[in-house]
Amino acid sequence: MSRVLDVRHLRKHFPIRRGLFGRVANHVRAVDDVSFSIDAGETLSLVGESGCGKTTTSRCILRAVEPTGGEILFRNEAGQEIDVAHLDRKGLRPLRRQMQMIFQDPFSSLNPRMTISEIIGEPLLVNGMTDTAERNARVAALLDTVQLPNAYLNRFPHAFSGGQRQRIGIARAMALNPSLIVADEPVSALDVSVQAQIVNLMLDLQDRLGIAYLFVAHDLSVVKHVSHRVAVMYVGRIVEIAPTEALFSSPRHPYSEALLSAVPVPDPRRRAQRIVLDGDVADPSSPPSGCHFHPRCRYATERCKVETPELTEIAPGHAVRCLRAEELSLQGVATG
């Protein structure tokens, strides 16, 4: 498989300014040395609690926020690896076509004054498809791809339900045949019965067109349905990354274990004894010493307070940032 994206040591620190002259008093380490890669046709999910840095990571990759450090290597159409983190605006433009985004809120991400055909056609027009007939044909084909009737072409977004709007957003993202789509909570604003349709649509499009997804989500149930691999983030760092089945059935980081056990299972006969984490996510401007997770970790020892664990591969494709990863036997959720 060819690699589409290779993120190395990505960092994003937001300054905290104080006082009259905006002196920088401290930094929020929103993303702190994050590395991962995504292959063509693959879905990698970033999961974690709010404030863990998953959204900031995805925005750095699209250069919607400026990374503080690290490399974001993206393979372009010509097969060259380009470092997105260090490109200027002009250099970014041709790459923007190949990396697209699907947003969370289908109500605020579509311009209410544009028709559906204008919304989907705009990226085509901007990228030089000036022939109206050609553009319209492409827009019609895209609507077909996301299973919306062509009769909707000249309607405005307000006429559509949340699920239909999300389909329009997907069609727009697909317009320029991107090789990577960043989807930040694409189904969390949708009703359950509609969510299933959009999840399936995204899976089908990926199988057909070989798009890579970076899927940012907090809902682990949805994540299980879409991902090939999952990265769990905590206070700006990846604490565990593994193939989906391995992460869910045999997590190796205590935080992954706690996250999984907190997910309500839709079966009253499986009211499990959950591991309830005390306290809240650590403050990323002054994270705890040693392992960031140690104040909430039920397995923490004295060593965890002083020593910072590295992300270490413990099985092929399965890496963990925990000092006790080898000795702990943790509980996952079995499939079925």
């Binding site: 969510q195 999840v199 079966d267 809240d280 079995a334």
Partner: protein, 331 residues
């Protein structure tokens, strides 16, 4: 079983807008028992929140209760029909907060940013009792400790924006229970929270319920939360109650095609990775364009032309405490 503390009988709450009438709640009936949790589940527009607001008589204009009864059993054994009270009456004001507590979804917007959390709880305590300011403050600290807030004696002077989402939701629960109501209505209490915080809050609600024999109405769109928490379940779709029964029956022997489809379409951590989900065709209709007959018929896999698109199905008893409104089961 003991007598129900609240009985809702054929409740209809409609909204009279210029564009037409929205029948937000259109014939809901259920019983609520002390020490038990009733889960009301459904997707957007199903009327679950309006049902809660109707019970508390805080439905906003142009909405109002058109018909039905909401019978509340009070401490002295008497019964009062909340649907027949004026929303602004002194009676309703003692019942709201005093006998029925409410927890909303959004703890940020339902707490005042201008008063400390302590002062807000003190106000609620003093509204429903004759405690002195000093005693009410002690009571507020006690309540904060009860909902598991660390260092309650200091946190009592905090403002809501100084607290995390989970702590704010704990404050909301302390506030709702300040006057020791017998009923707690929790409207999507954990939807805005992370899954780990959600687990903490659900645990807290369960613990308080056991300690105080609270009757809880839990309103949510999340079938997982229902499975974890509810004893009895009401499934709603577009203002109509489509199925109700004990939680185990709803999940393991559902009858209504909507309940069945909904259960099949929810993603689960138990699924195989990359498994396609079962889908329900179409989307939820706009409330002004509610389909005739059974509101689910355009999306229903078991649609029977000439029947389902003509009349609304009557409620059919399947077993003790289990009933559904579907033409498939009409005798």
């Amino acid at each position: 079983m003991v007598d129900p503390i609240l009985q809702v009988r054929d409740l209809h709450t409609h909204f009279f807008a210029d564009e037409g009438v929205v029948r937000a709640v259109d014939g809901t009936s259920f019983d609520l028992y002390p020490g038990r949790t009733l889960g009301i589940v459904g997707e957007s527009g199903c009327g679950k929140s309006v049902t809660a607001r109707s019970i508390l008589r805080i439905v906003e204009r142009p909405g109002r209760i058109v018909s039905g009864q909401i019978l509340l059993r009070r401490g002295d054994g008497s019964q009062i029909d909340l649907a027949a009270q004026s929303p602004d009456s002194a009676e309703m004001r003692t019942i709201r907060g005093g006998e029925i507590g409410l927890v909303f979804q959004e703890p940020m917007s339902s707490l005042s940013a201008f008063h400390t959390v302590g002062n807000q709880i003190i106000e609620a305590v003093r509204l429903h009792s004759k405690l002195s300011k000093k005693a009410a403050r002690d009571r507020a600290i006690e309540l904060l400790a009860m909902v598991g807030i660390p260092r309650p004696a200091q946190r009592v002077d905090a403002y809501s924006f100084e607290l995390s989402g989970g702590l704010r939701q704990r404050v909301m629960i302390a506030l709702a229970l300040a006057a020791e109501p017998g009923i707690l209505i929790a409207d999507e209490p954990t939807t805005a929270l992370d899954v780990t915080t959600q687990a903490q809050i659900l645990d807290l609600i369960r613990r308080l319920q056991q300690e105080r024999q609270l009757a809880v109405i839990l309103i949510t769109h999340d079938m997982g939360v229902i499975a974890e928490m509810a004893d009895d379940v009401v499934v709603m779709y577009l203002g109509k109650e489509v199925e109700k029964g004990p939680v185990d029956t709803i999940f393991h022997a559902p009858r209504h095609p909507y309940t069945r489809s909904l259960l099949r379409s929810i993603p689960s951590v138990l699924a195989r990775p990359r498994d396609r989900l079962a889908t329900i065709a179409g989307s939820i209709p706009h409330p002004f364009a509610r389909p005739k007959g059974c509101p689910f018929h355009p999306r229903c896999p078991d649609f029977m032309p000439g029947t389902c698109d003509r009349d609304f199905p009557k409620e059919v008893a399947i077993a003790d405490r289990h009933s559904t409104a579907c033409h498939l089961y009409a005798s």
